[in-house]
């Protein structure tokens, strides 16, 4: 078994603490806001100048002047604020945004991350990815554990151009939760039905298995039979 994309988002959401200020990348990260426990206050930041962002606007209720960084119409929660780009990136670069949940193409054992240049892309685009990777203390990566072709994305060394060196703190995949430590990667949790050896077999970089490493506690709805496992 492994996690669905929503399962990965669900698992990350559990780890975002009360009162955290969180920027969500596009893709799996966008799903995270759906799974914050209702009794927990987490504040979502959008690069284009929003703090306290709510969910997507319902059809017919879009505010034409209110989109998120992915250009989707969004809502605001009570206590939200809006501001300009310099202020928004002061929040990011100045370390005020406490967590960023980002997709990645590759992560290395030392926390290096590559997520801005896709192989074969025609036009490069960086957006706010580097500002986030350099500025935010807790970079949480969400991604499928291996590529569509089954190749590991957690590597000894990144092969793609880096977004930022040594920036990743935790990796959440459909197979595992991995912590990046000064001594290398530490396997904290594995998907239900998996075990550390299976996770390692899909990971190029060596994983140390944490003393309290355990199977993820995750609802069945977020689990699927994993094609490559």
């Amino acid at each position: 078994m492994s996690l669905t994309r929503d399962g990965i988002a669900y698992r990350v959401a559990r780890d975002l603490p009360e009162g955290s200020y969180v920027n969500l990348g596009i893709g799996i990260p966008t799903l995270v806001s759906e799974y914050i426990p209702p009794d927990r206050e987490v504040f979502f930041h959008s690069e284009n100048g929003i703090l306290g962002m709510g969910g997507l606007a319902k059809p017919g209720e879009e505010d034409p002047d209110l989109v998120n960084a992915g250009k989707q119409y969004v809502t605001l929660l009570p206590g939200a604020s809006v501001f300009d780009h310099p202020t928004s990136f002061a929040m990011i670069r100045g370390g005020h945004v406490t967590h960023a949940v980002l997709g990645a193409l590759e992560v290395a054992a030392n926390g290096d991350m590559a997520n801005w240049r896709t192989p074969g892309e025609k036009v490069p685009g960086v957006g706010g990815a580097m500002d986030l990777a350099f500025g935010v203390h807790n970079i949480l990566v969400t991604m499928m554990h291996v590529t569509n072709k089954g190749k590991p994305k957690i590597l000894n060394k990144c092969t793609l151009p880096l977004t930022a060196p040594r920036c990743v703190k935790h990796i959440y995949t459909n197979m595992a939760v991995i912590e990046v430590t000064p001594e290398g990667l530490v396997l904290r949790e594995f998907a239900p039905g998996m075990d550390p050896k299976i996770v390692q077999s899909h990971t190029e970089a060596p994983l140390r298995v944490a003393a309290n490493c355990r199977e993820m506690d995750i609802p069945a709805a977020f689990q699927v039979v994993h094609a490559t496992a």
Partner: protein, 233 residues
Amino acid sequence: MVNKTLATCREAVASVFDGATILLGGFGDPGLPGQLLEALREQGAKNLSIVHNGSGGGTHALGGLIHDGRVRKLTASFPSHPGNTSFQDLYMKGQIDLELVPQGTLAERIRSAGAGLGGFFTPTAAGTELAAGKETRVIDGRDYIFEKPLHADFAFVRAYRGDRLGNLNYRMAMRNFNVPMATAAKFVVAEIDELVPVGAIDPEDVHTPGIFVDHVVEVVRHPKYLEITTEGR
């Protein structure tokens, strides 16, 4: 009596010259001065250097200007609009230059220009491909790169309300690049939804004081610019 209002977008873009550098506000649709862009497209100036977060899609607004071959250089953070675009076509043919700048660095370079600074050191991109050729410096143990201010001949921004003194008020997420851009060009024009009497915008609600603005043009918001776009970040 000071009167910065103009009746039409056509007048507002009349002085744009071939080879001009233009700051173009907006992020997605909010704050994008779409009708100034359409007027600029009709106006005809070419070899333009445009500074904008993205590259636009479709064949209207910025996408249209690029489609018409009027832009020689784009300075942007996210020009990789999904799908085939005019920018992509021209870029692949080597017919348009791209200066790729991280989004926060882009905003800060523009602010730096408007604030009369000579540049700044930022950690963003230090040690990456985007720092190639840039001056680096270790400050208090951390790596930084030097970034210069980004000045321009023109800035086109969009606001919600404005008055004849050029005071601007933005709704919701419209401020984005518009606030710094309005400070960083020799000639600044704002497309606004509503021209209001002087004093109608509370002093605490003026997001771009008139000191930064040369002209305001009231337009009727075109439904075309309200379409939901799917542009990525």
